[in-house]
Symmetry: C2
């Protein structure tokens, strides 16, 4: 059953809380990032790219991103099954946000390293 605690999205007022609700977790942003870099991508490609994720988690996170309209899923009835994931048009609206997150991540990383190395 995919009935989780995600159905009370309507009651949220704060936009930040809203975004957090949709994007929190270790993997959502990583998946979006991978799809922003290149899309569509196959399941296995995502799995290899997102280091540390398990297939189970990848599936569940992709499903949630799909539910939220950020990612679309296309199945090709080939003999070895092929499934491709793409950013939807709405998913692409996350690009500026993801860009800022990436920039900030870089900054913090550098900051951390100068204070820890040498």
């Amino acid at each position: 059953m995919s009935t989780k605690k995600r159905e009370k999205k309507e009651e949220i007022s704060c936009p930040v809380e809203y975004a957090v609700t949709l994007l929190s977790g270790k993997w959502k942003l990583r998946i979006l990032h991978a799809l922003i870099k290149e899309s569509p991508k196959r399941f296995k490609v995502l799995e290899r790219e997102i280091t540390g994720i398990t297939p189970t988690m990848l599936t569940s996170q992709l499903r949630e991103l799909e539910e939220d309209g950020l990612v679309s899923r296309e199945i090709f009835p080939t003999v070895p099954p092929t499934v491709e994931y793409s950013l939807t048009e709405f998913g692409q609206t996350t690009i500026p946000m993801m860009q800022e997150i990436k920039v900030w991540g870089l900054r913090h990383k550098e900051r951390n390293q100068v204070s820890e190395n040498t």
Copy 2:
């Protein structure tokens, strides 16, 4: 003990993963958001503003934000103890990112509501 799983930050290469590691969780972004809106703020003020958070969580999240250099803590030895939290200079580098997150949250919220309410 504050020994959590957060000490392997140095091994992370992906900037997005980096940011996620530092900001994941329901509360970090909410706290930053609250402090961006106004800073410094007292513990109780934060607790009231961030609906749903428990004092325990607020404390622990503030400690982690402090460790990561995003937030600073100042104690005033008044009779009823006063503790104020502020964004550090580095914490203020999150402002553009937070702004994008907020903007995106607003977008998604509106999008959701038109498809759910008449």
